[in-house]
């Protein structure tokens, strides 16, 4: 995939990871203690509690890594030369292409001419050979 498409994919990945992060954190967040008068809800030390503690870390790592990959892709963009430099180079290449094309056509015509001559000579030589052959 070309680098601009990779960059676009990476932007979409960052958006997806961010959405998943915020959505999961909001869904799994334990309730907030409203006032010191109300009793603390009974804490359940289950596997879910361990996951809820680990989730922000893993998801934020994923988000930061996605952002770093985006930076690396941006650094790899081959952006030397502006629009005018590119247009100038295209004009130069077109002129060179025309010249090389004319040269190629000349070579082709000369080669075809030589081929025709060789074919005629071969015809004459084979005719002479046949004429010189003694009839049985």
């Amino acid at each position: 995939m070309d680098i601009i498409s990779q960059l676009q994919e990476q932007v979409n990945t960052i958006a997806l990871v961010a959405l998943n992060t915020f959505g999961t954190l909001q869904r799994d967040a334990p309730p907030v203690r409203l006032s010191p008068n109300y009793p603390e809800p009974p804490a359940n030390p289950t596997d879910e509690a361990i996951n809820i503690a680990e989730q922000p870390k893993t998801m934020s790592t994923a988000l930061v890594q996605a952002a770093k990959k985006f930076d690396a892709l941006v650094a790899a963009l081959p952006l030397e030369g502006g629009e005018e430099a590119q247009l100038k180079r295209i004009a130069e290449l077109q002129a060179e292409n025309e010249a090389v094309g004319l040269d190629l056509q000349k070579q082709l015509e000369a080669a075809e001419q030589e081929l025709k001559q060789v074919q005629e000579l071969f015809c004459q030589a084979s005719d002479n050979c046949l004429n010189m052959k003694k009839p049985d």
Partner: protein, 169 residues
């Protein structure tokens, strides 16, 4: 259901092309290319294939408007701003959860700017591809010229040698 004027029936020109296979000249030529905007099934389309600017789509442009943008710098700074907005969103969700909408709008604005900036890199990519194709074509043509020259010299050498062989006899 009667057809409205924006959905006309297909034109009856197909009857003129009955004998097209036998005589291509008996039927009329295709119409010339359309210039400028044209209506199609009630909507207006344009023949000009320019990327519409963010302002045309009603989106605020966050990076500076100048003819020579430093794309790498702007992309990196938009990325930094995006990460900052994520942090702000988490703060808002903890402190004042009801005010998330503004933050989410800012984040989507940054994403729209990022995508527009990447799309505006495509013409540059197209020109670079054209340069690459032209260079490859020139290289192929030069290779072909060298091949033809080499073969012609070989053929002439063979003819000279055979002439010498015949003269020798």
């Amino acid at each position: 259901m009667a057809a409205t004027s924006s959905y006309p029936p297909p034109p009856p020109f197909y009857r003129l092309y009955k004998d097209y296979l036998e005589d291509p000249k008996c039927a009329p030529e295709p119409p010339p290319l359309i210039q400028g905007p044209y209506p199609l099934f009630g909507a207006t389309y344009t023949t000009d294939v320019m990327l519409p600017s963010l302002e045309d789509q009603g989106v605020r442009q966050l990076y500076p408007k100048c003819p020579n943008i430093d794309y790498k710098k702007e992309l990196r700074s938009l990325n930094r701003e995006l990460q900052l907005h994520f942090l702000e969103l988490t703060d808002v969700l903890v402190e004042r959860p009801s005010q998330y909408a503004r933050r989410v709008e800012d984040i989507s604005l940054i994403f729209k700017n990022l995508h527009h900036l990447l799309n505006s890199l495509r013409p540059h990519q197209a020109r670079a591809t054209l340069i690459h194709i032209l260079e490859r074509q020139i290289q192929h043509r030069k290779q072909a010229i060298e091949d033809i020259k080499r073969r012609r010299e070989e053929a002439q050498k063979l003819l000279r040698e055979s002439l010498q062989t015949l003269d020798g006899h």
